[in-house]
Each structure stands twice: as C-alpha cells, then as structure tokens.
Amino acid sequence: MTDAPTLPDALAEIREEFLDLPERERLQLLLEFSRELPALPERYESAPGLLERVEECQSPVRAFAEVTDGVVHFYASAPEEAPTTRGFASILAQGLSGLTTQQVLDVPEDFPLMIGLTRAVSPLRLNGMAGMLTRAKRQVREQLAA
C-alpha cells in the first residue's frame, strides 16, 4: 500500500482516515460520512430532475457533478434508509468538490477499493461508489465538451 497513486488532498485525507482505523471501526466512519452528506442546493432541491438518477439493484441515488468556472462540485441525494449509499456519496461530495476538472478526471477508477472497506463492506457494494465516480467523470467530460 506504500506506492498508492497521488490523490488530491481531500481524497487522500479521507483514505488515511479510513486506513488508520481497525477494520471493524471503518463502518462507523462510513456512517459518520453518511450523516455529513451535504443538503442539496436550492436549485436542485426544487428540481431534483436535474440530478441524474443512478439506478442499481441497490438503493436509488441521484447525483450530479457540476462544473462552474473549471471547478467541480458533486451533489447527491439518497434516502435515509440507504446509509451506505449516502456514505459513498458523501465521500465523493467531500473528496471531489473544489477540484479542477482535470483533477477529477485523474482520480483513479479504483479509488473506492483504496479506502480499506473491501472486507467490511464487500467489493460488490463498493461497485456503488465506483459507479458514482464513473458517472461524475462522464458528467464532467460532457460539460467540458459542451
């Protein structure tokens, strides 16, 4: 784990926070993240259709990576009864927001597998976060192309 690729500061900090904890306690940290998922800004609150629905066999989550003046903000909303999904969304909201478009595009696809949750959460569930990250990158690319 020593030659991990360079991550933007916020994501690197999140990664360290998780890896510093014993495996069983990492779920508690994910739970804390789920409670910190920022509320949606007014314009999304009133028009949730602006957020893309990420459908999966797991819980419904709506998310959008918005580019303003070259800076990315990641917004997401997921139901209270889906704390794991909220936790994943919150990690990305805190880790991606404020990055440049290029920094977001450079985030390793396997970031979700780097934070030590593979055994506590399971790889299949982590696919949920990988999916959100993949979509966020596509949304950034689409806005850059527009």
Binding site: L31, E80, E81, A82, P83, T84, R125, T134
Partner: protein, 308 residues
C-alpha cells in the same frame, strides 16, 4: 423451547403459520427467553442507524458468504457465527430486514440449509416496523454466547446448482422472479453502471416470470393465502402441491423471498432456490437461454418431436 406461534388469524390461513410473525407479536415477545431477533439488510450500515431493541446483525456479504470462493460458510463457521450472536440450536430466530425482507429471507434460507429448526420472518420487515413508529435503538447488543453444534450444510434439499437446473428442465416449474426486462433479456445491466458482469440476457428456458413483488401487499407483508394461491397455483402458474419447483433471480436473494412463500405459506414441499441464478447462468458456456417473453422450450424437446 420454541416460542409460541403468532395466533393472528391472517397468518393461520398459511400452510405454516409458525413461520411468520406480525410486528404486534414481536413487540410483545422481544424479551422472551430463547428468542433472538436478527436483522439482515442489503445496506450494511442500516442496522447501525437503529434497530429493533435486542436485535443482532447478520450481513449476507460479510458473514454468510466465504471471502474467496462463491459459496456459503461451512458448518464450523456457521456454528461460530450463530453462537457469537447468542443463538443456540433450539433458539427461535425472527429475521427482518430492509427491501421487503429480501435479505432476511435469504438469511432464513441459508439458516435452513443448516437445518435450523425455528426460523421465522417478521411479516412486513423493517419498513413496516419503522412505518408503525415502533421502537428502534442504536444500542449494540452483546448477547451471551450461544451453544451451537457444528452441522453440515445440506446442499440438496433446498438448494439447486446449475447442473440440477439443467436436469430439472421439463420436469417441473421454474420461477424467474426478476423484473420483466431482465426476464426478456432487454436489460443486461444498468446503463453506465459498472457491470456486475453478466454476458448474456434472457432467462432459463421454461421459466415463468413472476416478479418477487407480486407476492406482497403495499405494506410489504405477504399477500393473503388465497391471493398467493391465485398467483402461483391454479389459475396462475399452475404449480401443483407435489411439483418440484426451482426459483432463481440474479444472485438468489429476491428468489429466497418467493422460495419462502411457496414453501411455507403455500406448503409446497419440494422448493429449491438456485443461488447461482442469472449471474452464473448468464455467464455459463453452452447452457440454453430463452430471450423474449415466451418461456421457451426444453432444449432438445423440439428436435426429438420432429424426429419421431
């Protein structure tokens, strides 16, 4: 000593009323000696946000499955898991969970593979308990260790493997409980989502599609017996009491919910769940697949008829 059966009249109609409990009954029996409530969810954190007082958690990914091979834990692992949750061999287990009890039913099915006698589902699951404003707690239960024997898993009575399904084609009902789009093959995976890795779409030939949700009322409880009969038996799928039935979905969780209904609510004796399900079948080489809305033929049946 098993806990008493929930005497609710609605449940008494089912073939095995002792397999379901109502939220009212559970609220009254939470402190019964010899009864352990187990929460099994799709969301691995939901239990931590609040659970039924005294309930312990068993997670299907991290507790029931082996970390490397695609299979369930062995007898020693199971004994250790249950003992650690304060469960003994004669404990009455009441399971509940999110998503209309999909994972609770799946856990119930796995417990049944190990022959645990008294496994019940909380009808309506976590949603109904919460919707009724019943008590939840974040206190983590730390029960005294149970006394659980090492029991070998029975992989033949309630579980079907791919080879069993192949041999079953044309001999008995096969129930595909996925969504209609998954059944026809129209939907292979969710657009833009990392693929769960299924290469082919469609269904196992001869399977009939009855999405799992067909079996539940709007509050998530199982439909009354007469309605379930109309769906799965005469006038519906036409399953006979002495049929051998196999259920499947993508990984065997939603089909556990239907397995439970067929086996315990309708009393069909021989019902197996194919846990390999579509994530195995849709990737397997040279197995027959039917696409579209038609159930499809038993492979080879047509050719034989022509030859005759």
């Amino acid at each position: 000593m098993p806990a008493p059966t929930d005497p609710t009249p609605r449940l008494a109609e089912y073939a095995h009323p002792e397999r379901l409990v109502t939220t009212d009954w559970l609220a009254e029996h939470l402190d019964d000696a010899g009864l352990v409530v187990v929460e099994s969810d799709e969301d691995v954190l939901l239990y931590e946000t609040g659970h039924i007082p005294g309930a312990v958690k068993i997670d299907w990914h991290t507790d029931l499955l082996q970390p490397v091979e695609r299979d369930y834990l062995d007898g020693a692992g199971f004994a250790d898991l249950l003992a650690s949750r304060g469960i003994s061999r004669d404990t009455t287990i009441v399971l509940y969970g999110d998503k209309n009890n999909w994972w609770a039913a799946y856990t119930a099915w796995v417990f049944t593979l190990f022959g645990h006698e008294d496994v019940r589902l909380l009808d309506g699951g976590r949603n109904l308990w919460v919707a009724e404003g019943r008590e939840l707690t974040t206190d983590v239960s730390s029960p005294a260790r149970g006394d659980y024997p090492v029991v070998e898993r029975d992989d033949t009575t309630f579980r079907a493997f791919k080879e069993d399904v192949l041999a079953h084609l044309g001999t008995g009902p096969l129930v595909d409980i996925r969504s209609p789009q998954e059944y026809t093959g129209e939907r292979l995976h969710i657009p833009d989502y990392p693929e769960e890795g299924v290469l082919r779409g469609g269904h196992i030939p001869t399977a009939r599609n009855v999405p799992w949700a067909t079996a539940v009322s709007s509050d998530g409880t199982y439909k009354p017996r007469a309605e379930l009969e109309a769906i799965y038996r005469e006038g519906g799928l036409g399953i006979e009491a002495d049929d051998s039935v196999i259920t499947y979905c993508r990984i065997g969780e939603r089909s556990s919910h239907t397995w439970f209904a067929l086996k315990y609510l309708l009393g069909i004796e021989d019902v197996r769940n194919y846990d390999g399900s579509w994530t195995e079948w849709g990737n397997a080489v040279r197995v027959p697949i039917a696409a579209g809305t038609e159930a499809g033929q038993v492979p080879g049946a047509k050719a034989t008829a022509q030859a005759a």
